[in-house]
């Protein structure tokens, strides 16, 4: 078993680590406080090739593997979750379906602007009545005179309404009859009449990332907007979610690590009863436990990524990784706040933001309960 990263993976990880510390860290608090989308950072990440890491070079991507992508997501989340989710949702939810199933024309149209980060892509699966039960799609697309006419609504869609959002890939019922059986994916460009991204939500965390409800009212797109085969939508989104979990799991590890970094630094500085609090056994136990759990989870995430890169089945490992890292991030950020005492409750300290940013990781891209279902099913239950 080889635990070493390749030179390229290390170099990318170190570069993103450096970038996150020097470019993201100084603005993270302000972006969060003002709920401002990080346009400048996205543009810089685009220049460095971080907005298209796992896509082929011929389409402007980095030509790197899933593990490289996971490393980059981890390092970004270690400093700021909003920036990380913007990149991760754009990559594994937004751009990936077009890369996997797009026609040459669709790829030529979209991939260069997406992989360069000049445009963002979103993935619209969740609906008011279709969250965990994502197949319960109520959005309907009917083929009329060579156009899809879309009606319906989507909920909680990341990257959908920024100034640089290019398109959203949505699931819609395209079946005849009652229109409920057949689900397909359609690419809808921003600016298409009848497609509206609503006001951003007021969220608990991920404040600098863009999340909105979408409505489609007699929204017409050309027949050629169909992504992949008609009726493949269910299979496609299951596959997208499988891969997406690796990125979200990398976020969990990164956030937990970021919380631990802050906790250790603070514990060494802060003095009580005449000594640094890092000398107290109770504080040391927290730090030691977290570091052990983070290291174990990290290995699981990397393994899921490596399985995917090798072309092996990775559904089980990815779901396991997502399940344990989400919980770990929640616990790690809570402990980091605890180690900070009252200061941890104050926004000047990053752990305060980390704590708010953590909870979504047990919910987004499949709740913990959904991961448990996926895992149990994989185990034959």
């Amino acid at each position: 078993m080889d635990f070493d990263l390749t030179d390229e993976q290390r170099l990318l990880r170190d570069t993103v680590r450096d970038f996150a510390r020097k470019e993201v860290a100084p603005v993270a608090e302000e972006l969060d406080r003002t709920k401002a989308f990080p346009y400048e950072l996205v543009s810089k990440m685009g220049e460095l090739g971080l907005m298209g890491i796992p896509f082929p070079a011929e389409h402007g991507g980095g030509g790197a593997d899933t593990l490289s992508y996971a490393l980059a997501v981890e390092e970004l989340t270690r400093i700021d979750s909003s920036v990380a989710i913007t990149m991760a949702a754009h990559t594994s939810l937004g751009t990936m379906p077009i890369h996997l199933w797009g026609t040459d024309e669709q790829k030529d149209d979209w991939l260069p602007q997406l992989t360069s980060g000049s445009r963002l892509a979103a993935f619209g699966l969740t609906e008011p009545e279709a969250g965990s039960d994502a197949g319960n799609t109520k959005t309907i697309a009917r083929l009329e005179d060579g156009e899809w006419v879309i009606n319906g609504a989507k909920q909680f869609i990341t990257n959908s309404g920024t100034d640089i959002s290019g398109c959203v890939t949505i699931t819609a019922a395209t079946g005849d009859g009652d229109g409920r059986k057949e689900i397909s994916n359609l690419i809808v460009p921003n600016g298409t009449p009848g497609y509206e991204a609503g006001e951003p939500y007021r969220k608990m965390g991920w404040n600098a990332s863009d999340t909105r409800p979408l409505t489609f009212t007699d929204c017409r797109v050309p027949e050629s907007s169909l992504l992949g085969r008609r009726g493949d939508g269910f299979k496609q989104f299951m596959q997208i979610l499988d891969g997406g979990r690796i990125g979200v799991a990398a976020m969990g590890v990164g956030l937990a690590q970021g919380a631990l970094d802050e906790a250790i630094a603070y514990a060494k500085e802060r003095r009580a009863f005449g000594q640094p609090i890092s000398k107290f056994q109770a504080i040391q136990a927290k730090i030691a436990d977290l570091s052990a759990q983070i290291e174990a989870s990290r290995l699981l995430v990397y393994r899921a990524a490596i399985e995917k890169d090798r072309g092996d089945p990775f559904t089980l490992t990815a779901a396991q990784a997502k399940l344990i890292t989400g919980r770990l991030a929640v616990r790690a950020t809570e402990e980091a706040v605890q180690i900070h005492g009252g200061y941890g409750y104050i926004e000047e300290y990053p752990v305060c933001r980390f704590y708010r940013d953590a909870k979504i990781l047990t919910i987004g891209e499949g709740t913990d309960e959904v991961q448990q279902m996926v895992i149990a099913r994989q185990l034959g239950c």
């Binding site: 170190d14 570069t15 460095l48």
Partner: protein, 262 residues
């Protein structure tokens, strides 16, 4: 014009440094990275090239074990066109004079118009390799350069001296060590990272560049490390709570006066 950049692999800044008491050498296990000062040297080379000077080639040169190849990969990802790795068991344990001699032998073979290097390494911190290399190559040398303009076969450099700045003109070829104020190194792009291994890398043993075996390695080094000690622990400072500002000022003045600092 051909620019050679000397680059060194050093323990990552985040790794706690430890000295091996047996060998009296730095424990170099754990994460390593390209010496941060050397990234400034490469950036300086890139800026000379991008500034319009006719630079045909930027070559990264290192002396070090197998793992040092990673430092070269980073160097080419940052913009160098190719790299040279001097590696040989005979070189292990070389001191500054021996290292500088060995590097000079590689450089002789390359015959660059400009040698750029970081002013100091993050681990050895001797600040001397530039001078040693320049001496062997019989080239003029400047240290702690923080501004550099290339024109008509000459460089105009600004040096960061202790009490101000020197502006010095130097004829090429020359050896210039740069300070970190000289520039803000770029990040390597993912494309450059993925392409790093495609750039040529030559590996030389000591004999390949005419290094005389008795002038390198532990036996060829005429310095020996006798003892290594960690720096003394700093005493905890005294914190004066500011309850009444006049009183506080008084206390600080008394404190400074006791120590003959005012």
């Amino acid at each position: 014009m051909k620019i050679c950049c000397l680059v060194k692999e050093v323990p990552d800044a985040a790794v706690e440094k430890r000295i091996d008491p047996e060998t009296k050498r730095l424990d170099r296990s754990g994460e390593k990275n390209l010496n941060p000062f050397d990234t400034h040297a490469i950036e300086a080379a890139m800026q000379v090239k991008e500034g319009g000077a006719p630079v045909e080639e930027i070559v990264a040169v290192t002396m070090g074990p197998d793992s040092a190849v990673r430092a070269l990969h980073k160097a080419v990802a940052l913009g160098a066109d190719r790299s040279v790795h001097l590696t040989d068991a005979a070189l292990e344990g070389s001191d500054v004079a021996a290292t500088g001699y060995a590097l000079a032998k590689v450089l002789e073979k390359e015959s660059p118009d400009l040698v750029l290097l970081g002013q100091q390494s993050d681990d050895g911190e001797c600040y001397t390799i530039g001078a040693v290399v320049a001496d062997h190559l019989k080239m003029p040398s400047l240290t702690q350069v923080i501004k550099m303009d290339a024109a008509d076969g000459k460089l105009t450099c600004e040096r960061q001296a202790e009490y101000g700045y020197d502006t010095v003109e130097v004829e090429l070829p020359a050896v210039i060590s740069v300070g970190d104020a000289i520039n803000e190194p770029r990040y390597p792009s993912l494309k450059a990272i993925m392409g790093a291994k495609k750039k040529p890398l030559d590996s030389h043993g000591a004999g390949d560049v005419g290094i005389e075996p008795d002038r390198v390695g532990q036996s060829g080094s005429r310095t020996a490390v006798l003892e290594l000690r960690p720096p003394p622990q700093k005493e905890a400072g005294e914190i004066i709570e500011d309850e009444d500002t006049n009183e506080t000022v008084e206390k600080i003045v008394v404190w400074l006066d006791e120590r003959k600092l005012i």
